[in-house]
């Protein structure tokens, strides 16, 4: 007879000493793993619930003496930001220690714009007292403790009108300011090198393109977005919308796309090569959007609005991925993404710069390999089951302050009733007589060459 029986030797399946590796055996036969799908769904539900439990994005509030009107991050150091105040004070912050490194005194009017030079060692600030000042930024000392010291400006540039915005070039030693006209300055010259005007209204914000060295875009109070080229010394193209755009941000990864923050509670993404329609409309705010900034990955952007909230959107998402509010946070004037795309900074009217996590339920710090695997597994589960009712309800849930919740509900009712009316009009009129304009083209009034 030929007989063989299962006989397991214990030494092969257990470990001898405490420091030995534990042996793990796998058998993927489906008869051993019953209810796989049901267990996976249960784990997805648990993952969604845990994600909401651990969603605590607020990290720190850095206090100022007056409302924060301008914010800028250092391109070379991750933990350093500069913020400008409505009383003219500019502070350099060391975020990790939550302390002010320097107070830059000199401005007498509200600081409206801040921008770092590409080497990360100087910062330019513009203010309503018609001056632009250039400052030197010191390195942060390693020891903890109170540092704060005052510092004067290195250079000062005088202009004729109050400045609204400033942006430093990505590689050269020049910067552009926005007041009644766009001025392009050089560090060595006390007068602007170029001046661009188009129409008689003020320019609200100006931003250089991160990839194309000579192109920059501005938004103006005549509800326009204008593209300029330094080489031709004339404005290139203008897009007029129905409402004014408050801020503009270029996508650092796809440098031909930019996003504007509009007064009509939406953000619009455009391709600079084609202004006939927006590439995406980002909706979710209930009041004017005041600032927008892209993440260094180019996949997300953060926007702050007059309705006291900060929202993070995916670059092609019509609705926000996350919303941050705080009871004591008032109108958000400026927002910035941090250099490692993990944090979001917002400066608001309540005299604080708040630091938030970009992923609300992320565990900060170095993760163990097992923790990383679990995190990746949970994300994959949520991705797979995100359409299921229960999972969707949990992952979508955010607590909103009553004012924003009610305003959003009212907006939804208005939009729904308008669309219903439009459908009825179309149903009751000759087919083809009423043309629906797509959402992406609705707000564009004209394109001017």
């Amino acid at each position: 007879m030929k007989v063989k029986v299962i006989n397991r030797i214990e030494e092969d399946f257990t470990k001898e000493r405490k420091q030995d590796l534990k042996k793990v055996h796998r058998n993927f036969d489906p008869n051993i793993h019953q209810f796989e799908k049901a267990h996976e769904y249960t784990r997805a539900l648990n993952a969604a619930k845990l994600e909401r439990i651990f969603a605590k994005p607020f990290i720190a509030a850095l206090p100022h003496e007056d409302g924060v009107t301008a914010l800028c991050r250092n391109p070379k150091t991750i933990n350093s930001i500069v913020s400008g105040c409505a009383d003219g004070a500019v502070r350099i912050w060391d975020i990790a220690q939550k302390r002010t490194l320097r107070r830059l005194v000199g401005h007498t009017g509200a600081v409206r714009g801040l921008s770092f030079a590409p080497d990360g060692e100087s910062v330019v600030s513009c203010s309503t007292d018609c001056t632009v000042k250039l400052w030197k930024v010191p390195y942060a000392p390693l020891e903890a403790g109170h540092v704060e010291a005052q510092q004067q400006a290195v250079l000062e540039f005088q202009g004729s009108n109050a400045f609204r915005s400033i942006d430093h070039h990505w590689s050269r030693n020049m910067f552009a300011t926005a007041s009644t006209a766009v001025d392009v300055w050089d560090h060595e010259r006390s007068e602007p090198v170029h001046t661009f005007t188009w129409g008689a209204d003020t320019v609200i914000s100006v931003r250089f393109n991160p990839a194309e060295a000579d192109i920059f875009a501005t938004t103006g109070s005549d509800r326009s977005i204008a593209l300029y080229d330094l080489r031709i010394s004339t404005p290139v193209r203008k897009l007029v919308m129905q409402t004014r755009c408050n801020a503009l941000a270029w996508n650092p990864m796809e440098a031909f796309n930019f996003t504007v923050a509009n007064e009509d509670c939406n953000l619009y993404s455009y391709d600079m090569r084609k202004f006939t329609s927006a590439t995406c409309v980002h909706q979710d705010f209930v009041s004017a959007v005041l600032d927008v900034d892209y993440s260094p990955t180019g996949r997300e952007f953060v926007a702050g609005s007059y309705d006291r909230s900060v929202r993070i959107f995916k670059y092609n998402g019509g609705h926000s991925r996350d919303v941050y509010t705080a009871k004591r946070m008032q109108r958000v004037f400026c927002v910035r993404f941090s250099g490692d795309a993990s944090y979001v900074m917002s400066g608001s009217d309540d005299m604080n710069v708040r630091v938030w996590k970009a992923e609300a339920s992320e565990q900060l710090g170095q993760l163990l390999p097992r923790e990383k695997k679990k995190k990746a597994y949970n994300q994959a589960l949520l991705e797979r089951y995100k359409h299921m009712d229960e999972v969707k309800r949990i992952t979508r849930h955010r607590h909103l302050p009553a004012a924003i919740f009610k305003a959003a509900r009212q907006r939804r009712v208005i939009v729904d009733s308008e669309s219903k009316k439009l459908q009825k009009r179309i149903a009751h009129s000759k087919p083809g007589s009423i043309k629906i304009k797509p959402e992406r083209r609705k707000k564009i009034v004209a394109e001017v060459e």
Partner: protein, 541 residues
Amino acid sequence: MSEPVAASKASSAKKAKKSHAKDDKERRLRLQRGQGVNVKSIKDKKLKGRLKHVEKIVREAQEKAAKVSEWLLPSDTGILEAEGIERTYNFKQEDILRHVEVGAAQKVYDLRLPDLGPYRVDFTRNGRFMLLGGRKGHLALMDWSQSQLVCEVQVAETSKDVCFLHNELFFAAAQKKYVYIYDKRGVEIHCLKDHLEPNRLQFLPHHFLLCSVGDAGILRYQDTSHGAIVAQHKTKLGPCTVMKQNPHNAVLCLGHNNGCVTMWTPNITTPVVKMLCHRGPLSALAVNVSGTHMVSAGVDNQIKVWDIRMMRPLHAYFSYSPAINVEISQKGLLAVGYGRKVQIWQDALHSKQQTPYMSHSLVHGVMEGFAFCPYEDVLGIGHSEGVSTMLVPGAGEPNFDSFVANPFQSRRERQEQEVHMLLDKLQPETVVLDPDVIGRVRKEPREVQVEKRRQEEEANRLRRKQAEEKNDSKARMKGKNRPSKRHRKKQTNVIEEKRPEVLKKMRDEEKRRQDKQARMQKLEQDIAIGSAPRALSRFYK
């Protein structure tokens, strides 16, 4: 000369490669979980790209799993083969023991426990611990392969069934009146007063549900993680002593005295399936691991194999006496026990076999119940003289998965596994007859589904409301007609009511007897006197 040799070598190499490729493909198909998506017919480009990526990942995972199952599995299935004119069912356990290794031979032993009643046996999911429950109340937990007793407790009443909970720390015993839960130290932890007069216990490990059925014919589900009764269903088919779970979809199969097998889920108050299986009461039931086949044995000496996916009978075997117990092992071996004999049949589910694979007779005792040990080639038999184990080569799955069940798990691993099991616990509402429904895409429009669900809920709600109203109306009475009072009445007044009637009957019977005697005497006297003719004697009776 060399060329044809080389050619034949090449062709044989090619053949080997082909068969190897076929084996690979077979293995990959066996490990497949469901059909893929036909990506070519999708028009939407974004969706097509995403699904293509997902299908690629799934295919790579399948290939990896196939490679693991080919190269990395440490053990092989057991085999028992006869050579020449030998037949496998003629091999006795002593012969087999002589041919196997010492470690395997140590697993076969006999525990002589003649005093405390016929024993029932249960194993943990990883096959490490065995639970013995004697009818006279002897409960013992042992690490059977090391022959080590973990705990032993003598409860003073009859215990009809024993069952492990989610691991070896807890077990449940169906005692005379209630179900009791014990710790692995033998300490009684819970008395489940809702389970009255239980006969059989089953534990659904993925849902943490302890189920019992008893003489009242009521099936009860209790969640052992939070302790609430999830469902109580009246089977209305009388006392039930046969209950098995379907491991594939966690549906309970009950065998009744009218020959019906009913299948129950905790969500529906009526049986999901009711099939007439036998011409008399059922004596045993078993369902295989993948939930495709069910074996039922009845008092009518038939053992029938059913396909429960299609609900069709497949074939029937004839047994010489009603089978006491029927079990299906992890690898599909069918064990049938009657009297003192256990027969193991190989491949008996898909096709009808003519001869058994193995046969074993108990030296002492009459069989009460048996169970296959998971992941081992061992069958544990409980009988009236104790517990014995026998070797059944090829019964158990040789390769376990450490994340599912690990016979060598340490204390830390057991604790971690308990936590993971609790986190992954499935809700009882998800128990359905076809568990593959969960991942599928619904084909009907949403309105039709909503309507259907509303109708189902309506039907169940009505029934539940009626049952609740009945219970409520009983419970709400305070005063003269309290349930406790009525119960007392039932115990006392019935007998008293019966007593005068019974007495009356007895008196009537006595009177009739006396009358008859008197008449007979008179007839004899008359005959003796001669006043009545003999031929007419029958008229005087």
